[in-house]
């Protein structure tokens, strides 16, 4: 037990130095003479996602989102249990490997983190969640969409994105609204692609749309001509593909080469600007969905702050930002970083975050999770509609309806908490 303690001490020391340093720099007039050396407690929050391998860029994006929240919270100098706290993000690499899920989770448990943001992939999050559950540490995933995650009966497991069985129906409802009568459904035989496609299929069938064929390819394939030819023979009005952009793009291109004119629709895995690079001109007019609100609809404060620090948002950073803020807000409300104490607060939390209003249902899923529908125009994806609770709203209408524009998560959450002897919020 020696090493972690020493490490922890030195980290606290480091945190002290930085906080003290900031204190000296930031306010030019106010605190200069007083600055009593107060005891600063470090609260660690874990973040796990792939930092190496094929989707390392998304993992890094997620980590940056959580990091931003943690840094902002530290700058606010909250008081928990009467002591000023500094938050620290412990970022780990799970390599997107299911085997590594529980192992990395163990690392967090060893380090006694207060809460965990992550992981990125459902396949890794599910095995890891059992370890967190046993240790009683709350975890919030900002991107794992597999319904199973929250169906395990774990009280401490939450997520902020729409589940596959929320996103799927949303796309399906949008397609139905477009008077689609016949659809072909394809997936890439991964947990994500298949799960999403199954939900789309279910909803469309219930809505009386004819599913002319259901095909599967795989996530490394380059040749889709055989299944596309079969689909062409069935003459659908639309095609839905559950899979990533790396396969969705070439598929779309090959379909147009074969003379298929049906509308192409995708889930969030292929809802990226990459599509226009991978499919060229064929990508124009595709329809795709993203769980949650688009980065462009995320609060302006978040977008500006994120851009200044890390550049453009890739995909899920607003969600991990909110996830970290939720944990921080719950800790503040419970006035304790002890998971057992703040977990009930987290379950009951309702806050306005960068991705809209957040509250959890009894399973730990987000209530009323929004799904945004995009189309690709001029090489960029653009939001056209928002589906929430089964209703589809045009994007412009949605923005108007939800005005005044969503506020930044953290400041909005703060007033809701019994203000600890309000430290003059360092307004800049």
């Amino acid at each position: 037990m020696n090493i972690p303690k020493k490490l922890g001490l030195s980290l606290v020391a480091a945190a002290l130095v930085t906080v003290y340093g900031c204190g000296k720099e930031a306010p030019k007039t106010a605190q200069a003479p007083a600055a009593p050396v107060e005891e600063v407690v470090t609260i660690r929050i874990g973040h796990a996602g792939p930092l190496t391998g094929g989707i390392a860029h998304l993992g890094k994006d997620n980590e940056n989102g959580a990091r931003l929240a943690v840094e902002e919270a530290t700058a606010r100098k909250m008081k928990i249990g009467g002591k000023t706290v500094a938050f620290e993000l412990m970022g780990e690499d799970d390599q997107a490997d299911p085997k590594m899920g529980p192992t990395i989770a163990q690392k967090f448990v060893d380090a006694k983190v207060a809460g965990v943001v992550g992981h990125l992939n459902s396949g890794v999050t599910i095995p890891a969640s059992a370890v967190y559950n046993q240790a009683g540490i709350p975890m919030i995933s900002g991107s794992a969409t597999n319904p199973k995650l929250t169906e395990q009966g774990f009280k401490n497991v939450f997520r902020l994105v729409a589940r596959d069985d929320q996103q799927g129906p949303a796309v399906a409802q949008y397609l139905e609204a477009q008077k689609i009568k016949r659809i072909a459904i394809v997936d890439d035989a991964t947990a994500y692609g298949e799960g999403l496609a199954n939900e789309v299929e279910k909803t469309l069938k219930a809505g009386g749309v004819q599913v002319v064929t259901r095909e599967k390819t795989n996530d490394k394939a380059t040749d889709f001509k055989a299944i596309l030819t079969k689909i062409k023979g069935r003459n659908p009005d639309a095609i839905f593909y559950g899979g990533m952009d790396a396969t969705g793009g070439p598929m779309l291109k090959q379909a147009r080469d074969l003379g298929i004119k049906a509308v192409f629709s995708f889930g969030d895995g292929a809802c990226t600007d990459e599509m226009s690079k991978l499919a060229g001109a064929a990508a124009e007019g595709l329809i795709c969905s993203q769980a949650g609100l688009p980065a462009s609809a995320a609060s302006k404060e978040f977008n500006d702050a994120f851009k200044a620090k890390f550049g453009d948002v890739k995909q899920y950073a607003p969600f991990t930002y909110d996830a970290a803020n939720l944990i921080i807000a719950a800790i503040q409300k419970a006035d304790s970083a002890d998971p057992a104490k703040y977990l009930p607060e987290l379950q009951a939390m309702s806050m306005k975050g960068a991705t809209g209003t957040i509250s959890f249902d009894e399973k730990g899923d987000r209530k009323n999770a929004e799904v945004t529908i995009f189309t690709l125009k001029g090489g960029k994806i653009e939001p056209i509609a928002v589906v929430q609770g089964g209703k589809s709203l045009g994007f412009e209408e949605f923005l108007k309806a939800s005005a005044p524009a969503p506020m930044a998560g953290a400041p909005a959450a703060a007033p809701a908490t019994p203000p600890a002897p309000a430290p003059e919020a360092p307004k800049k």
């Binding site: 090493i3 190496t52 390392a56 299911p98 899920g101 192992t103 163990q106 095995p127 298949e194």
Partner: protein, 360 residues
């Protein structure tokens, strides 16, 4: 055999050596827990890879049959356990019932693979086993339709941990004043299994069967002429290798609590093969060392190569994952070129391989 363990000629030294090793192995998890339970889990995965590598060693090292789809048996064992001890079918059999079943099912698949391929020469066999491994994975990935057997790519969750009476392997307990965490309990269990498997392998190597395999590996025609039933012997190698894979798979399932086909891809087969090759095909201690080295490689790289790169270039140019794969590749090539008998060549294997090479 290694000189330290030479019981017959230097019994005192051997006993002291063994006792020392035993003490280290028993105390190890407590030391590791001191650093972090994380390291116990990593060690557990390393032991699992040792088991796999020892299983593959029977097929590749002893009998000389190159199997590139070995991970399929691991998958079969893992799925057998998962299906019989999870809410998926609502079955919750105890592990001592399932592990033998898993071994038997894997063994059955080993024979299914072995039977039609016995006639094939080494290189064809390699390709067929590779194809077989992929076929198993693709089936596991797709057997959710039309009847849901494997739950497809969604995988199987909430797999039961091992349990003996009231003692669950997944929880933390205090026994005789010592705290045993879940991973520590699994460590001891895995260690016992590993020792058993090593013992079986050592006995096998010097048995009639082991020598028959060796004869087949060296010259199949001559072996047959010596009265060895080469067909049965080869089948036996496949079956035994597969059973070990099946048992390791079952344990993997229980430790993980969740499995899906993405854990059983071709790269894993190649990883296990690299371990066997690095350690020296047919060399039991070498294989164990190879497996331990390569399973810790990612962690070692993470703490050495990454900071080193950052110091030299200011950022990470090659992520450890890439370096690790390059190492696997290099291990295979360089070992074959320069040290075909492995890092710990046994005298016999060394002689064999070298005379063969010069004689051609």
């Amino acid at each position: 055999m290694h000189p330290i363990l030479d019981l017959r000629h230097r019994p005192a030294a051997a006993l002291v050596g063994l006792a020392l090793v035993a003490i280290v192995l028993v105390v190890l998890p407590f030391v590791l827990t001191g650093i972090g339970t994380f390291w116990v889990r990593i060690t557990n995965l390393a032991i699992l890879f040792c088991l796999l590598a020892l299983g593959l060693n029977i097929v590749v090292g002893f009998a000389g049959l190159l199997d590139l789809g070995y991970i399929a048996f691991y998958a079969v064992g893992a799925y057998t356990y998962a299906l019989l001890a999870s809410p998926h079918f609502g079955l919750h059999l105890p592990f001592w019932v399932i592990l033998p079943i898993g071994a038997a099912v894997a063994c059955f698949f080993g024979v299914i693979l072995g039977a039609p391929t016995l006639k094939l020469r080494g290189d064809y066999l390699a390709i067929v086993t590779l194809g077989f491994g992929e076929i198993i994975r693709i089936f596991l990935n797709n057997l959710a339709q039309p009847v849901n057997i494997t739950n497809g790519p969604q995988g199987i969750a909430r797999i039961d941990p091992f349990r003996i009476g009231d003692l669950s392997f997944s929880t933390t307990d205090s026994i005789a004043g010592l705290t045993f965490t879940g991973p520590m309990k699994y460590y001891y269990l895995l260690l016992v299994v590993l020792i058993a498997v090593i013992a079986i392998n050592l006995r096998l190597q010097d048995s009639r069967i082991g020598r028959a395999w060796e004869a087949i590996r060296e010259d199949e025609v001559a072996a047959r002429a010596m009265g060895i039933n080469t067909r049965n012997m080869k089948l036996l190698a496949f079956a035994m290798g597969a059973s070990f894979g099946g048992i390791s798979g079952g344990m993997f399932s229980a430790i993980q609590g969740f499995i899906s086909p993405e854990s059983f891809v071709l790269v894993e087969s190649i990883m296990v093969l690299s371990m066997v090759v690095l350690g020296g095909m047919g060399n039991i201690w070498g294989v164990v060392i190879g497996a331990v080295l390569l399973s810790f490689a990612p962690e070692i790289l993470r703490y050495t190569v990454e900071p080193a790169q950052r110091m030299m270039f200011g950022r990470t140019l090659l992520d450890p994952e890439v370096i690790r794969m390059l190492l696997f590749g290099l291990a295979l090539v360089l070992m074959m070129l320069f040290r075909p008998a492995g890092i710990l060549p046994s005298a016999l294997r060394k002689r064999e391989l070298e005379t063969r090479r010069s004689a051609g």
